[in-house]
């Protein structure tokens, strides 16, 4: 299997879908001449021309809304928002329009739209440019939400997203674009709603969201080598639909669960999963589901502050040791609640 960077895998998915289906068009700020702020669309303008690959003005709400309209009459638009932070300007078109049109018109109209955008911290982009908003999108019925964490999923899920007849929020991660990984050859769409077990283990289940699936896998490695703990690592891949079964089956064996996400703790993906797992695996749990989340703060620019404001392996390892009663629970109130490890605490400890 060829090795590709996450960015290249996305580019390949777009290229193949543009070639496969005449109705697929790309729209976004600087995706053409500039090749994309993160170069995901590099070369596509040259290959497919201005008719298929369109640079837009800086008008997020309208770009998404045009995608909605074009999708309603037969095109399959893929809109790139430069980053998820700017999607906040397009929430009306995403929620009130893209997500609701199929239902509100009694199933007569379809919105096969993909809105792609990267999220995340780690590059010192500061408070307005470092959000992780998957929890907000996950909240909305009518949307599908994908959070690929590997080059293979980036390609496979994007192909599946473009072929789906529902509006898809496709959340990439700025820190993953350069990551390499094996990507199966050929036209392989990765269906939504199928979690990936990244690593098998029997002592604890670690669920990692978006980039945190990678962090979780590295933490699991450390847990094995440094602590002899065998952790199972699950990447849900998509949050809508959500493959809860795979998580529940794992927890049924491990009886302990840690969820790792980069976003804010309150009303986060972790809270939602913790609630679902506590509800549905109540008798399987030997300890409360533990969340490791980003800190409950706007993301600071300063490097040492940014570093402790989102999870890294040490916090994941610490949280796992705690749910296994192999370490003292941490005392200080964090991330909104003493039972949540946020990036900061383990570091500050």
């Amino acid at each position: 299997m060829p090795e590709l960077r996450y960015r290249e895998a996305l580019n390949a998915a777009l290229r193949e879908e543009l070639a496969r289906d005449e109705r697929v068009i790309l729209m976004g700020e600087d995706i053409g001449v500039f090749g994309g702020a993160f170069k995901v669309t590099a070369g596509l303008l040259e290959e497919f021309g201005e008719r298929r690959v369109r640079d837009t003005p800086i008008s997020e709400n309208t770009i998404v809304g045009m995608g909605v309209g074009a999708a309603m009459v037969g095109l399959r638009p893929v809109v790139e928002l430069m980053t998820v932070n700017f999607a906040l300007l397009a929430f009306d078109q995403i929620v009130n329009h893209a997500a609701h049109i199929h239902y509100m018109f009694g199933g007569q109209a379809r919105v096969p739209l993909v809105v792609r955008m990267p999220q995340g911290a780690g590059h010192q982009l500061g408070p307005t440019h470092s959000h992780c908003l998957e929890a907000m999108f996950m909240h909305v019925p009518g949307l599908l939400v994908a959070t690929p964490s590997t080059p293979a999923d980036a390609k496979g899920l994007l192909k599946a997203a473009i072929r789906d007849d529902n509006p898809v929020i496709f959340i990439e991660h700025e820190s993953l674009y350069g990551v390499r990984g094996e990507v199966p050859d050929g036209d392989r769409a990765q269906p939504f709603g199928r979690a990936a077990v990244r690593r098998e283990g029997g002592d604890v289940t670690i669920v990692g969201i978006s980039r945190m699936a990678q962090t979780a896998a590295r933490a699991a490695q450390r847990l094995q080598t440094d602590h002899g703990v065998s952790a199972e690592v699950i990447d849900p891949r998509t949050l809508r639909p959500l493959d809860l079964d795979t998580i529940l089956h794992s927890v049924a064996r491990t009886n302990r669960c840690v969820i790792v996400e980069e976003g804010w703790p309150h009303g986060g993906v972790g809270a939602n999963l913790a609630a679902l797992i506590s509800e549905q695996a109540f008798d399987d749990l030997d300890a409360p589901v533990r969340r490791v989340t980003g800190a409950d703060v706007p993301m600071p620019y300063s490097k040492p502050l940014e570093d402790i404001a989102y999870p890294h392996e040490p916090q994941v390892v610490a949280a796992v040791l705690e749910v296994l009663d192999l370490a003292p629970p941490d005392r200080q109130p964090t991330g909104g609640s003493a039972a949540v490890t946020t990036a900061s605490t383990a570091e500050a400890r």
């Binding site: 309208t62 809304g65 045009m66 037969g74 079964d245």
Partner: protein, 335 residues
């Protein structure tokens, strides 16, 4: 004054304007009798701007409207019964009872929806225009919205994009003098709305929205210019809503006199009398047109009454287009 169209065409316009008027009057009564819930925005007084504009479209042209769109569905040919059934929240409603008054839809007739979010329909109309352009069809999209919507961010964003990409979209601002209870002068710095697209590269035109002939003439020119030149235009239709913004509106923001003055320009009698003067309509035909309209509205109410409410089990239908990867309405697969 533009010349009259063929008599039968003129009579059809009058008949459709009359149907819309009678339909909305009855809808108002049905609302008072709690047959209809939610918000009910009537366009009574604006019928000429609706019929004159939409009759300037070809059948393949697209229409996109707002939450004030019963007339747009009717003029496009959606059976009155299906529109009334939507207001009644019944399964035979044109949106299956899901959308209500603010969210009418009839894709088969290329009425691509009424939208409840002020300004939300502009980008969607531009997207439809983009698709027409992309697919190389001759279709034009008519996007109708209000004077208040011209202050929404999507107005500037969409008109700029439509001009930049030369999209075949006619933007029609229905200037009924108010955004809810706020008068034009109090919500827009520029009140000559036809000019509001100039700084965005979209030339403007204006029509008398109380005159179906003038509205049709101006919109026809705009639509055909857009079709031929492949560029957007903005048309302002000057009109007035005789009723409140919605059913719950004490109308303290305007005087009885002002409303009365506008009512003297009521587009229905105005057009009927013109046709009679021109010999294109007899008093009897006029009476028959009104009688037919009332009959059709009676039929619409009967149809709506007879239509069942959606079944509780249908609550989750059409949240998603189901397929291989989305198996049920629920977002969590449970075994």
């Amino acid at each position: 004054m533009p010349d009259l169209p063929e008599p039968d065409v003129a009579r059809e316009w009058l008949e459709t304007m009359t149907l819309i008027r009678r339909f909305e009057e009855r809808a108002g009564e049905m609302y008072a009798r709690a047959k209809i819930g939610g918000f009910l925005h009537l366009a009574i007084g604006e019928e000429a701007s609706i019929v004159g504009a939409v009759r300037a479209l070809r059948d393949d042209d697209y229409l996109v409207s707002t939450y004030r769109s019963h007339g747009h569905a009717l003029v496009r040919g959606t059976p009155p019964g299906r529109v009334m059934a939507e207001l009644f929240g019944r399964v035979d409603g044109c949106s299956g009872g899901r959308g209500g008054s603010m969210h009418m839809f009839d894709g088969a007739r290329r009425f691509m929806g009424g939208y409840g979010i002020v300004g939300g329909n502009l980008p969607i109309a531009a997207g439809i225009g983009l698709a027409s352009d992309f697919l190389g069809t001759e279709d034009v999209t008519l996007c109708v919205f209000g004077d208040g919507a011209s202050n929404q961010g999507t107005f500037g964003e969409t008109l700029n994009l439509a001009a930049l990409w030369r999209l075949p979209v006619v933007f029609m601002v229905t200037n009924n003098q108010f955004g809810m209870g706020t008068s034009l002068q109090r919500h827009s710095a520029v009140t000559d709305l036809q000019r509001k697209g100039e700084s965005l590269g979209v030339p403007g035109m204006r029509c008398d929205g109380m005159d179906v002939l003038d509205t049709h003439a101006v919109l026809h020119e705009a639509v055909e210019r857009t079709r031929a030149e492949r560029r957007p235009l903005l048309v302002e239709a000057i009109t007035y809503r005789f009723r409140g913004h919605s059913m719950a509106d004490p109308e303290e923001y305007r005087s009885r006199e002002e409303v009365e003055q506008w009512r003297e320009r009521d587009p229905l009698p105005a057009f009927a009398e013109l046709l009679e003067r021109e010999g294109a309509l007899t008093a009897q035909e006029r009476a028959e047109i009104d009688a037919r309209a009332r009959e059709r509205v009676d039929g619409a109410v009967a149809f709506a009454e007879a239509s069942p409410f959606p079944a509780p089990e249908s609550l989750y239908d059409d949240v998603y287009v189901l397929g291989d990867q989305v198996r049920g309405w629920y977002s969590v697969r449970t075994t």
